[in-house]
């Protein structure tokens, strides 16, 4: 009696050997990948795609810079709600079925990043540029949030 029916082992044994080779390759790569030496991005290993986001502020604007290599402009979604900037999108797998992947490090699928803005911004004047795989979102500060010089009058 057997619980599992005997199945012919996958005829060729080379592919499985190959798998070991690529596993070893992957382990090697793991030791070199940016997230092990970087800070705060370890989560991407477990949760899919977490594009790196930088946030700047100057007197007039809050600027978010996001690394989004290989996206289509129309697949990037930017929204602003309750002082929270959200950048979401999806990168589609366009490799096609006839191609076999021997190594896959690039993420495909959905991502969503939200960040609380340090000040109020003018939602109607937000500007976004996508160039060389980097998204730059410029959010002009609301008038009341801009630093103001206050004249001291000596009486």
């Amino acid at each position: 009696m057997s619980l599992i029916r005997y199945q012919t082992p996958n005829s060729v044994m080379w592919p499985s050997l190959n798998r070991w080779a690529s596993l070893r390759d992957d382990l090697d790569t793991l030791l070199e990948l940016p997230f092990l030496t970087g800070s705060g991005r370890q989560t991407q290993l477990f949760s899919g795609w977490t594009p790196a986001l930088d946030l700047y502020q100057n007197a007039d604007n809050v600027v978010a810079i996001v690394e989004l290599p290989g996206m289509r402009k129309e697949d990037i979604e930017i929204s602003l709600q309750d002082g929270m900037l959200t950048i979401a999108g999806e990168r589609k797998d366009e490799s096609g079925e006839e191609n076999g992947a021997t190594r896959t490090e690039r993420f495909t699928g959905k991502f969503r990043r939200s960040i609380t803005l340090p000040t109020r911004v003018d939602a109607n004047k937000v500007n976004a540029i996508y160039k060389h795989g980097i998204l730059t979102v410029t959010l002009p500060k609301a008038e009341e949030a801009k630093p103001k010089q206050i004249q001291v009058n000596v009486s």
Binding site: T37, I65, L68, P69, G70, A101, R103, E105, H132, G133
Partner: protein, 126 residues
Amino acid sequence: MNTLVRENHSNASNGERAAEQFIAPAATVLENAEGYTLEVEMPGVSKENLEMWVENNELTIVGRRSIPSVEGTLLHRESRQENFRRAFELDPSIDAEKIRAKIEQGVVTLTLPKAEQVKPRKISVA
């Protein structure tokens, strides 16, 4: 082990280059009967700042970033500032003369065709 565009980890230590720190960009390797496609993520790298060469059957890709500079205070940083560098050992089946590359929105796509004599070929019975 004849089906890989394999990564080469040996660090080329040629003089001044050795001092510079690079990070390895994420890459995907696809294979079909015609050859390999290599996709390398290099956000912030433009065509002018991309350098590639084949030497001793090894393909090296170096990308230097030009990140949009913003005046002001940095509130939060996740990006890395280092430039990209990665090397791949080429499978002998690849015709190095015919490698083509393009860069689009920070992704380098290389087409590495197999040499004619290694492409699968049907043999008809006479």
